[in-house]
């Protein structure tokens, strides 16, 4: 009784929905804070940095940051020009992924130097402390798994690029950088 055309249409529709197109986003995934007035007034630098991030990326404010600042600056390579780090969340088909992006300024233009995969539910701290007191800043990223504690990663920047130097678990709210 079913015409050939109808059957073909059904198969196409089914394969389209179950295959290529994928399942539409869940309502829970669609909740986003609206753009705040303060963000609109951010300086050109942060706007420039945020524009370099992938589309749909959601910038995250570290728990321990001054006045809810999303971007931290520090000189990692000792050239006198600050690097910047931004932690963001990306909505991938496989789920949400935490990431940190390290920016470097070259010829007055910012570019992404490295992208670092994050863990846990959020970020506790992101900044450039000088942990080994060699005069150069290191990149410290502290990921959070709620009450289970945080995980601290410390990276150094040398000629070969970004290098993980220390991995450490922390149980208290405060980040111990030493």
């Amino acid at each position: 009784m079913l015409s050939k055309l109808g059957r073909t249409g059904m198969i196409l529709m089914l394969s389209g929905l179950l295959g290529g197109c994928g399942i539409p986003a869940m309502p829970a995934d669609m909740i986003r804070p609206p753009v705040s007035a303060s963000r609109l007034q951010q300086d050109n630098t942060s706007r420039e940095l945020i524009q370099l991030l992938p589309k749909q990326a959601q910038v995250i404010v570290p728990m321990q940051s001054n006045l809810g600042q999303t971007i931290s600056y520090g000189d990692m390579d000792g050239d006198g020009v600050d690097e910047a780090v931004v932690v963001y969340e990306e909505n991938l088909p496989s789920g949400r992924a935490l990431k940190a992006a390290l920016f470097r300024q070259q010829n007055d233009r910012w570019q992404i130097l490295s992208e670092i995969k994050g863990f846990g539910y959020g970020v506790e701290y992101a900044g450039f402390p000088d942990t080994n007191r060699d005069g150069r800043s290191e990149l410290a990223l502290s990921w959070s798994l709620g009450e289970a504690g945080n995980g601290l990663d410390i990276y150094e920047l040398d000629d070969n690029g970004l290098r993980l130097v220390k991995k450490k678990q922390e149980f208290r709210g405060k980040v111990e950088l030493d």
Partner: protein, 474 residues
């Protein structure tokens, strides 16, 4: 099966199939959407917890930090979270578990079995104790940068709410489908009713007409095929009535026509019987009148027989070459005295180049006498009757033109019909022109009449010149 049932039935079948296919597809999609998403959320949480453990907590003993780990794993999740040792013993449970109550083995769960081998495991089924539908995802907790499984984390959720929601949506979809079916059935019934209503009207009217009631008229409901069929049926009934009327008129008029000479004959016979023996003059006059009246009767009856034969196609033409010039001249001579008597001018004009035509000379003469007789009847003294013949486009054209009273436009269309008389009280059978028309058509020719009231009538006879065969009306 009635048309209405067939129409509604096919409607319902088509829509039912459409709705059924859509419903199956939608219900399957909704079910897949919900279950797939619940599973995805659990996998994300388990994966996140397991990878964080591997990155930062793998150094410490699992058992000693399990309580703290559970707090972290439960963070952001409504699912039941369990931490299991590498050997499958339950360490921590967000639903509450005291180790003192005795150790519980989780090995029986398929997802845990898979996770113990070092790969993520997903299981959907019924809880063996509570028989609740459950979806569980187990992830191995591994050592940092090593493929050693230290334990498992297990996220489990009840599927009761999910399945209930899916069931609810399914129910709504089925109800909507049934509603669509009901609406379509109603619409189909309404639509087929508009069709069958007209058909029923037509059938009723046709039934009445079969019984002989031609006064009935079908109501035209819509401007569609059935509407035009109703028009046709009404027109047919009207024509039948009209023919019936003509027939009745004809019978009464022909009875009158037959009765008039008969009355006259009978009257004279009685008169002659009584007084004829003595009066030779009266006798002769009476016999003359009886003779002419008998001739009139014969002529009338001949006409009727002719028409009946022509109508049945039983007349065969005796074709022979006919010289129109000679024929028309002869007719002019024959009818000249009558023209003189009525004070009319009768002119004959024949083109000498006209070739002989194949025709039945007696029939052709009959037609011409008929036409001329009409002209004589309707033309006042001082008028002119012109008979002409010439070639036109390879055909012979004989024209009889008079300056008589003419025929009104509305009657002109009917003059060739049998039994029709423009004036019901005029003498004659009303068959003359109908017979003429049939004879000319039998010759494969055409009879055309044009007329203007007060100016006269023109009748054209168009005959083919090459007419070799013996022809009959088909």
């Amino acid at each position: 099966m009635s048309i209405q049932k067939r129409l509604v039935g096919s409607y319902v079948v088509v829509i039912f199939l459409t709705v059924l296919i859509l419903e199956i597809f939608l219900i399957a999609s909704v079910r897949f959407y919900y279950l797939h998403n619940v599973e995805r959320i659990l996998i994300n949480q388990a994966e996140l917890s397991a990878s964080f453990f591997q990155q930062y907590f793998a150094e410490e003993d699992l058992e000693s930090q399990s309580e703290r780990l559970l707090k972290g794993f439960v963070y952001n999740s409504d699912a039941q979270v369990q931490i299991i040792t590498a050997s499958g013993q339950l360490l921590q449970d967000s639903n509450g578990y005291e180790r003192s109550m005795g150790s519980i083995s989780m090995v029986e769960y398929p997802d845990v079995q898979v996770a113990m081998t070092g790969t993520p495991g997903v299981w959907r089924g019924k809880d063996p104790l509570t028989h609740e539908p459950v979806l569980a995802v187990s992830y191995p907790l591994k050592k940092y940068e090593a493929d050693v499984t230290l334990g498992e984390v297990r996220f489990a959720t009840s599927l009761t709410t999910t399945l209930h929601t899916v069931k609810q949506i399914t129910l709504i979809l089925i109800l909507v489908g049934l509603l669509v079916l009901a609406i379509v059935t109603l619409l189909g019934m309404l639509l087929s009713w508009t069709i069958t209503r007209s058909i029923k009207d037509l059938k009723q009217a046709a039934d009445r007409m079969t019984e002989g009631d031609f006064d009935i008229r079908v109501r035209k409901r819509y401007q569609d095929e059935l509407g035009s069929l109703a028009d046709t049926l009404n027109m047919m009934a009207a024509r039948i009535l009209k023919t019936e009327q003509l027939k009745n008129d004809f019978i009464s008029s022909i009875s009158h026509e037959l009765r008039t000479p008969l009355t006259s004959i009978k009257g004279w016979v009685i008169t002659l019987k009584a007084n004829g023996k003595d009066n030779q003059l009266l006798m002769e006059e009476g016999l003359d009148i009886i003779e002419s009246e008998s001739e009139r009767l014969t002529h009338l009856v001949d006409e009727l027989l002719d028409f009946s034969k022509l109508d049945n196609g039983r007349i065969t033409l005796q074709l022979s070459p006919v010289h129109l010039q000679a024929l028309l001249q002869q007719m002019g001579k024959q009818l000249g005295p009558r023209a003189d008597r009525q004070g009319l001018a009768l002119e004959i004009q024949v083109d000498e180049q006209i070739p002989p035509i194949q025709a039945d000379v007696n029939r052709l003469k009959q037609v011409l006498i008929n036409l001329l007789d009409n002209s004589f009847k309707h033309t006042d003294p001082g008028g002119l009757i012109l008979v002409s013949a010439h070639m036109k486009q390879g055909q012979a054209l004989i024209r009889v033109k008079d300056t008589g009273s003419g025929i009104a436009e509305d009657k002109l269309a009917h003059v060739l019909h049998q039994f029709y008389k423009a004036d019901q009280h005029a003498a004659g059978s009303g068959l003359g022109l109908a017979i003429s028309d049939r004879i000319i058509r039998l010759h494969r020719g055409e009879l055309r009449i044009s007329s203007t009231v007060g100016e006269g009538t023109t009748v054209d006879i168009i005959l083919p010149v090459e007419n070799q065969r013996n022809l009959t009306i088909s």
